[in-house]
Each structure stands twice: as structure tokens, then as C-alpha cells.
């Protein structure tokens, strides 16, 4: 549905988007993840035809976003970072206006407006002035605006920014509900958001793609193996020996010094094993069998946040090396 190839956008010397390529299949939700200023908004603006690219191509439903902009615009719904609202209009008037400029046939406008309001849970507020709505409702109007013409592709720039946790939950739920029928690209700098809503993630940093994969793959791939964290009462040295003797264990880190644990005779340990193995049961039985008191044992799931940090800091380290070499 969406094909982006070697996309470049320069402002003078600076490259806001630097050779980005990716594809999105029909019905997929793709997350754009990156720190502020990474090039997410710029990429989205190129896709919507708002900005021309400096190089590379982008096609939506087979149409070039620059050469066949009108065809593309008919097929996309776009929610910019600040929802494009007319505060003095009512919700339904506003959506009817958007439907008309998006090319919805005059006879279909009322139906499409009603449908968009139903999907965004706005029906009760349809006669209210937009300026009287809360931030969360304004955001919903913004999303309704992006789907009112039933577009193939919906592009949402930071759809949950500035909302309270309840509103965020609602908006995410709404976005999930759109998938399948619509192909969705959403950008965010909030990591759990991507984990919760997206099928695939593109991590962008400084205009380049740092990683691109499914959400699950990214998590497993990058953590390099399973991790189990535990806390026991006993001696640190014998614990290390006991753990190291368990088959399948790759690496053991024992730490009793931190947080003054030693005084209580407590030891923390982190065990790394091959990916795809679950050693928790085996570890538990060995520890208890070895005469330790097992206080805590849990598998550590590397969140996207960790991955993200890893990716972006690695890049920084590389840059430093390059800087030194030069």
C-alpha cells in the first residue's frame, strides 16, 4: 500500500530525512518511533504531499506522492501534530466541511460524517463548538477528520501527545479499531505506544532508519537472549557457583554490594541464557536445593524502551569514534 524508497529531504546542508526506505502492507499499523526531531514529521509530510522530497520516491496505492499528488490526497487521511480544527465550528459542521473538500459526493456527506463520529465516539458532541471541547475530544475530532472520507491510508502524527492517560487509552483503542480496513502509519516518541498498537516498527534517529521489524522480533532480537533476575538469601560466591553449574546458562552476574543488601545477607543475581529457553523452573529448584532462601525470581522482558536506548546510544558511540578518527 505504501512504498518508500531512498527518501531524502534536505534543508540546505542539513538532512532531515536521509535515505529512508520501507513498505507497509494493506491493513497494517506501522509505528514511527524516534526522538523529537528525528525526521518523523518530515517523512509523514512528504507522504501526504505537503512537502516535496529532495530525492527518492514514495508511492501510496501505486501513485507517486509528488507526481500524482491529487490521486494520493484522495486516498489518505492525515492528522498533523496539532489537529487542524476550526474552533468556532460545530463538530458535525466541521466534519462535513472536511468531507466536502476531501471529495466525498454531496449525497454521501451526512452518512460519512455520522460514521466518522460514531467511530471516534463523538456522536453525543456533534452540535458542540470545537473550541468548547477538551483536549482529548479535540484529538478525536482530529482523528474523525482523518477518516471521514474513508481513506485507504491514515497517517497520524503523534496522535496521543498531550492527552491524559485515560484519553491516551481511548485514542489507542480507536486506532486499533481502524486497522484492517485502513492502513495506518503513526508516529510517536512514546515507546509503549508502539508496543501496544503497532504491528511493525520503524525506529528513526537523525533522519535514518535505525531498525525496522515487527514489534516482537525487535524485542527478542535485540535482547540477545532471555534474562532472569533473582534475589536470594545466602553467600554470593556459592550462589555464583550454583548458578554457573546450571546447564543453558550463558552468563551470571551476582551483586550483593548494591543497596546495602549484604547486611541482610541478600544477594541479587541476573542470569542470561540462550534465547528461546526458559530456565526459571530449573533455576528455582537448584537454588532451593542448594539451601538458599529464594525471595524473588522473574523473567526480564526487555522493553522497546531499552532497545530504543540501545540503538540510539550505539549510534552515538559510533559517531564519537568517527569524530575521533577524523
Amino acid at each position: 500500500m505504501i512504498e518508500v524508497e531512498h527518501l531524502v529531504k534536505s534543508y540546505g546542508q542539513a538532512r532531515a530525512v536521509n535515505d529512508i526506505s520501507f513498505k507497509v502492507e494493506k491493513g497494517e499499523i506501522l509505528g514511527f518511533l524516534g526522538p523529537n526531531g528525528a525526521g518523523k514529521t518530515t517523512t509523514m509530510r512528504i507522504l501526504t504531499g505537503y512537502l516535496p522530497a529532495t530525492g527518492g520516491t514514495a508511492r501510496i496505492a501505486g501513485f507517486d506522492v509528488f507526481e500524482q499528488s491529487m490521486e494520493v490526497r484522495k486516498r489518505i487521511g492525515y492528522l498533523p501534530e496539532t489537529p487542524p480544527l476550526y474552533p468556532e465550528m460545530t463538530v458535525s459542521d466541521y466534519l462535513a466541511f472536511v468531507a466536502r473538500i476531501k471529495g466525498v459526493a454531496a449525497g454521501d456527506v451526512p452518512n460519512r460524517v455520522a460514521e466518522a463520529m460514531r467511530m471516534a465516539n463523538l456522536t453525543e458532541r456533534k452540535d458542540e463548538l470545537i473550541k468548547r471541547l477538551s483536549r482529548g475530544f479535540k484529538q478525536r475530532v482530529g482523528i474523525a477528520q482523518a477518516i471521514v472520507h474513508n481513506p485507504d491510508v491514515v497517517i497520524l502524527d503523534e496522535p496521543t501527545v498531550g492527552l491524559d492517560p485515560n484519553q491516551i487509552k481511548e485514542v489507542r483503542h480507536l486506532i486499533k479499531g481502524l486497522a484492517g480496513e485502513h492502513t495506518i502509519i503513526l508516529s510517536t516518541h512514546i515507546l509503549p505506544e508502539v508496543e501496544m498498537t503497532c504491528d511493525r516498527v520503524v525506529i528513526i534517529n537523525k533522519g535514518r532508519i535505525a531498525a525496522i521489524d515487527t514489534t516482537e522480533n525487535l524485542t527478542t532480537q535485540l535482547k540477545g537472549g532471555e534474562r532472569v533476575r533473582l534475589q536470594v538469601k545466602g553467600s554470593a560466591d556459592s550462589l555464583r557457583d550454583t548458578l554457573a553449574a546450571i546447564e543453558g546458562v550463558k552468563n551470571v552476574e551476582v551483586n550483593s554490594a548494591e543497596h546495602g543488601l549484604e547486611a541482610d545477607g541478600l544477594v541479587n543475581a541476573e542470569i542470561e541464557s540462550e534465547s528461546g529457553t526458559d530456565l526459571r523452573a530449573r533455576i528455582a529448584s537448584r537454588i532451593v536445593g542448594g539451601g538458599f532462601d529464594l525471595l524473588e525470581l522473574r523473567a526480564v522482558n526487555l522493553s522497546l524502551e531499552d532497545i530504543f536506548m540501545q540503538l540510539t546510544t550505539e549510534e552515538k558511540a559510533e559517531e564519537k569514534a568517527v569524530g575521533k578518527a577524523a
Binding site: 501526504t48 491529487m70 487542524p84 476550526y86 466541511f97 472536511v98 473538500i101 476531501k102 471529495g103 477528520q145
Partner: protein
């Protein structure tokens, strides 16, 4: 056409839900009403005095075309006041859309920039007509009691002139509004530009150099005088239509170039 209509309808309703249209129209009607009464009063006083003088001198009174004087003075006043009021109408046309981010939505919708520009211009022109139309009542009232009859031809010519001048000012004002995100900056700049166009010929009055002629030609109120005399002059019509076309063209170019300049 559908796109133009959609933009036009939203724009027009936008004017009437914000206080600015009511303030400008109210102010315009109050001022024009007051001045119309004032002009009529003065013309009556003037003709009385002329009559008295001629009675004392034992001669026939000098011919005074009172209705014509009323219309000419009134139309002259209206055009001057437009220089102050039009900036208030046009300052937000594009600046406000840019500030709110709705411009981004318009520019990513399947409508052309031409449709946006024309729709917005027609809406501002409609508002202008709505503002101007009630002043016709003054003339109809005075026309009922006028002896000899009001020269309607001159009145309509005068109104055509006001309409064309207004259209030109609206197109220029909208263009200036498209240059900034700040309504106040747009309003003040528009006013300054109008003032310049108005006083352009002040310094060269009576001069017949080429430079003076050019300045006179460009002075935006100059062309209005022929209409106020009841003459529908093609060159003046063309002048105002060119101003409209220039304003709309520049707006169009500016919207288009924004795409390339934006960061």
C-alpha cells in the same frame, strides 16, 4: 467547482461566527449613516444659502445639482473608509489558517490552491457586498423625496466603482495575509500598503512628468473618480480587475512557494 463552493461556504460562515465581521459592518454602517446625514445636511444648507444670496442680489439662483453632490461626496467618503476597514476583514484570511494548522489540512486535501484562493476571495467579496448593500437604503430614502429625481445612473456607477475598488483591496489584503502567520502583522502591513497606494499621487499632483503620470495611475483611489462622476470608464474597470488578478495571482504563487520553503 465543488471545492471552491466548500471553501466559500466555510469561509463565509467563518466570518459570521466571529465578532470581527459584525464589528466591521456595524462600524461601517454607523459611520456611513452619520456621514450621509451630514452630507445631506450640508448640501441643503449650501443650497439655502445660495438661494438667499441670489434673492438679495435679485438674480436667479446658481444651478446646484444637489443629488449629484450628495452621491459624489458620499462615495468619496466610503472609498476612503474602506482603506481602513478592509485590512480588518482580510487580515485573518490566510494568517489564521496558517497559525491554526488548518492550512496543512487544506494543502493535503484533494483541492487545488486555485480553488482555495478563489473560494476565499469570493467569500470576502460576498461579505463586502453584505456590508455595502444596506447603504443603498440611504439613497432610496432620499430618492423618494428628491426633486429633481435622484440621478440613479450616477449612483449605480458610483457603487460599481466602490465594488471594484473593494474587490481590488480585498485581493491585495488577502495576499498580504498569506505572507504571515500573525493576523496583527497582516492587518497593519495591509493598512500601510493601502495608505501608500492612496497617497502615491499626493506629491505629484499637477505635475505632468512621466513619473507623475505613473504615480497617478497607480494611486488606487484616482481611478475611482471617474465612476463618481457617473462615467463607467473601461480603463478604470480594467485597472481594478488587474489589481484583483494580481492579488489573487500573488497569493497563489505564495501558497505554492510555501511548499518549497517550509521547514
Amino acid at each position: 467547482m465543488k471545492g471552491i463552493l466548500a471553501i466559500y461556504r466555510r469561509e463565509l460562515s467563518g466570518y459570521f461566527v466571529s465578532p470581527i465581521a459584525y464589528i466591521v459592518i456595524g462600524f461601517f454602517l454607523a459611520l456611513t449613516g452619520y456621514f450621509f446625514a451630514d452630507i445631506v445636511g450640508r448640501v441643503i444648507e449650501y443650497s439655502f444659502r445660495a438661494q438667499m444670496q441670489s434673492m438679495q442680489m435679485q438674480g436667479a439662483p446658481p444651478p446646484i445639482d444637489a443629488p449629484m453632490l450628495v452621491i459624489r461626496n458620499f462615495a468619496g467618503f466610503v472609498t476612503t473608509i474602506l482603506l481602513f476597514l478592509v485590512p480588518m476583514l482580510t487580515m485573518g484570511v490566510y494568517a489564521e489558517e496558517r497559525k491554526r494548522g488548518t492550512m496543512e489540512m487544506l494543502m493535503t486535501s484533494p483541492i487545488t490552491e486555485f480553488q482555495i484562493v478563489v473560494g476565499k476571495f469570493l467569500a470576502s467579496l460576498t461579505l463586502f457586498v453584505v456590508m455595502l448593500a444596506p447603504t443603498l437604503i440611504y439613497h432610496f430614502i432620499i430618492g423618494r423625496y428628491s426633486e429633481p429625481a435622484l440621478p440613479w445612473r450616477i449612483m449605480w456607477a458610483g457603487y460599481l466603482g466602490i465594488f471594484l475598488l473593494g474587490a481590488g483591496l480585498l485581493a491585495l489584503g488577502s495576499f498580504i495575509s498569506s505572507l504571515t502567520e500573525n493576523q496583527i502583522v497582516a492587518g497593519v502591513s495591509t493598512f500601510v500598503v493601502f495608505l501608500m497606494l492612496w497617497i502615491l499621487d499626493f506629491g505629484v499632483r499637477g505635475s505632468s512628468t512621466t513619473f507623475g503620470e505613473i504615480m497617478k495611475y497607480l494611486s488606487i483611489l484616482q481611478h475611482y473618480d471617474t465612476f463618481a462622476q457617473g462615467v463607467i470608464d473601461t480603463s478604470s474597470i480594467i485597472f481594478y480587475l488587474s489589481v484583483v488578478a494580481l492579488g489573487l495571482f500573488l497569493t497563489l504563487r505564495n501558497l505554492d512557494s510555501m511548499r518549497w520553503r517550509r521547514a
